[in-house]
């Protein structure tokens, strides 16, 4: 992306959150869509609200944008009470899911809309609009009408239209969901680079966990109106807090069992574990399971024998479904190694069996 003339926002104390959601709840009629959400967004970060449809992520975004009011709780931005302000008074801009470009205005006028409406100095407007156009590489389409643009092009215009206003916070409501796969990947990397470059805080909503992992500094996983886990992608992946987190992000094997007298037992798998007795669930990522060449096992590893039921080739890796016996199935991801059949020995490190809450 070209170097943007959009200046960095005035640097704030890095410890002071830009946006604070304090015990925010939202109810529609009898339906509780959001329950007691407390979340802080740090200035300059790329935070993704991740969740299934119905998890409340879009509602939360709309609360920040101002299109809904919280039933209870408060939202604060830069030390000011945000949720009492109407949308047109907030220093927040939104990129809508279907772009919501004004059909009766051309690209340039769409982008200039916010500046005109807020009465920016007239002599500044053309310059800022041009910078925005260049930033999203749409300068040659300046006089085109939105109806003539492709989905990806409309999306860039929507982005420029929002960013030209130099908001403190940019909201993106699943902006890439309408694009096809290749275009989507391309836009993801452009978006990420753009955010790094201009430094504006992004609050991004998606249901696609791969997208969230690729783009975010932090992910806030929402489930049924409640925050399941808030952490960086690496952190969530390596240390999922709950079974839901483990399954939603990436793939995993959920091992259910119990601990008795310092032994963890999950089906046919057993290993020593110094923890209190009780039921337990572990998340074991498929790629942490390896083939065991000569039956050698370290003390901190678990070894088991399993029959290969299914093998799916994926270019660089294979995804195997293996039967450990007694119907216990596990998924194993191995580097590409050619077709395998029959029984094999597998091994994984005890440390890779992450204990998760229910």
């Amino acid at each position: 992306m070209s170097s943007a003339a959009i200046p960095q926002p005035v640097s704030v104390d890095a410890n002071l959150p830009l946006l604070e959601m304090r015990a925010v709840a939202k109810r529609f009629g009898s339906r509780e869509v959001l329950k007691n959400i407390s979340l802080n967004i740090v200035s300059g970060e790329f935070l993704t609200l991740l969740g299934e449809s119905g998890s409340g992520k879009t509602t939360l975004l709309r609360l920040v944008a101002g299109f809904e009011q919280p039933t209870s709780g408060e939202i604060w931005m830069s030390g000011e009470h945000l949720d009492t302000l109407p949308p047109y008074k907030r220093r927040v801009n939104t990129v809508f899911q279907n772009y919501a470009l004004f059909p009766h205005l051309n690209v340039r006028d769409n982008i200039a809309y916010g500046l005109r409406v807020q009465r920016a100095p007239k002599n500044e407007i053309p310059g800022r609009v041009n910078d925005a156009l260049n930033m999203v590489k749409m300068a040659e389409f300046a006089t085109a009408r939105p109806s003539r643009l492709s989905g990806g092009q409309q999306q860039r215009v929507a982005l420029a239209r929002a960013l030209v206003n130099r908001p403190q916070l940019l909201l993106l409501d699943e902006p890439l969901s309408a694009l096809d796969a290749n275009l989507r990947k391309q836009m993801q990397s452009e978006l990420k680079a753009l955010q790094r470059q201009i430094g504006i805080t992004f609050l991004f909503v998606t249901h696609d966990q791969e997208e969230a992992m690729a783009l975010s500094d932090r992910i806030a996983l929402l489930r049924d109106g409640v925050l399941e886990q808030v952490a960086s992608p690496r952190e969530i992946y390596a240390h999922p807090a709950t079974a839901y987190s483990a399954q939603f992000i990436g793939q995993t094997n959920l091992l259910q069992g119990e601990i008795r007298r310092s032994i963890a037992t999950c089906g046919v798998l057993r290993w020593p574990l110094e923890e209190e007795d009780g039921p337990v669930i572990f998340s074991l990522r498929p790629e942490t399971i390896r083939l065991c060449p000569e039956g050698k096992r370290q003390t901190n590893e678990v070894k088991f024998r399993a029959t290969i039921r299914q093998q799916i080739y994926g270019g660089t890796s294979e995804l195997l479904e293996v039967d450990c016996g007694a119907g216990q199935l596990l998924r194993v991801r191995l580097p590409a190694c050619g077709p395998l059949t029959g029984e094999h020995d597998f091994v994984f490190s005890i440390a890779d069996a992450i204990r998760v809450a229910d």
Binding site: F67, E68, P86
Partner: protein, 273 residues
């Protein structure tokens, strides 16, 4: 359904809207009220409420004759307009022929032109053809004017039907004729009923075109019109009230049917005169 927009409640606008509603309904309310007034059509307030005017209406033979005439014409108009309108809708939906755009405009023209134009031009035609002015000529006028209503409704209904159903029918061995009767027409059932109701109502109330094509036998609106020249009594209020009541029922039924056939959002989007 789209989300409601975040516009704040505006009491000023709501009040204004209420006033507009009042403007639309007040005259009719007054009319109905005075149909029960013993002392005539004007003055205020209405005292001595009575049903006498309705009793007088019941005994008024010429009125009921004209009602019968109107019913005859309306039924004929429904049959005529629906048939031609259905064919026109099918033609517009499926056939390509030179002058199609012109045809579409022509069909819709009587809807937007003042009735006097349609009425007079048909009068000239009738004279040229040597026909006597009668209920038949009235039927001719109504049919021509109301084809556009049928065409619009049925065209909308056709657009909603799944073309693949007809293809499936042909694929399974039915002839186009059979397909028409077994598949196309039943799919249009709701549209046909809705269009028929509307045409019936409009025909019963039609006055501008009828004015020029009427013979010795009056339709209901023309009979009332004649009465107006002779002097106003609340009996006219009474018959107007009845007309209003029946129309309301028919229109509400029409609306409900149309909603079911076309869907609520599409319903509103199609309301272009």
């Amino acid at each position: 359904m789209s989300r409601t927009s975040p516009t704040r409640r505006s009491p000023l606008l709501a009040t204004y809207a209420a006033l507009v509603f009042a403007f639309i309904y007040l005259p009719i309310v007054v009319l109905i009220l005075y149909s029960f007034n013993r002392d005539g059509v004007g003055g205020f307030p209405p005292q001595h409420l009575t049903l006498d005017w309705y009793r007088q209406l019941l005994a008024d033979v010429p009125i009921w004759d004209s009602v019968l005439n109107s019913l005859l014409v309306a039924s004929g108009a429904v049959a005529l307009s629906l048939t031609l309108g259905l064919l026109a809708a099918l033609a517009l939906d499926r056939a390509r022929f030179p002058g199609k755009a012109l045809f579409r405009r022509l069909v819709l023209l009587p809807l937007i032109l003042p009735g006097i134009i349609t009425g007079l031009s048909l009068l000239m035609f009738v004279v040229l053809a040597g026909l006597q002015l009668s209920l038949l000529t009235v039927l001719l006028g109504h049919g021509t004017a109301l084809i556009s209503v049928a065409t619009t409704e049925l065209f909308a209904g056709l657009q909603k039907t799944d073309r693949a159903q007809e293809e499936a029918s042909l694929d399974l061995g039915a002839t186009p004729w059979q397909t028409f009767w077994r598949i196309t027409l039943p799919n249009l059932k709701l549209s046909l009923i809705a269009a028929g109701l509307l045409i019936f109502t409009l025909s019963m109330d039609e006055i501008a075109v009828t004015f020029f094509l009427i013979g010795r036998d009056n339709t209901l609106p023309l009979e009332i019109w004649g009465r107006l020249r002779r002097g106003i009594t609340p009996e006219i209020n009474a018959v107007s009230t009845l007309i209003f009541a029946v129309s309301v029922v028919l229109i509400v039924i029409w609306y409900r049917i149309r909603m079911r056939s076309v869907g609520t959002e599409a319903q509103h989007l199609l309301e272009r005169p």
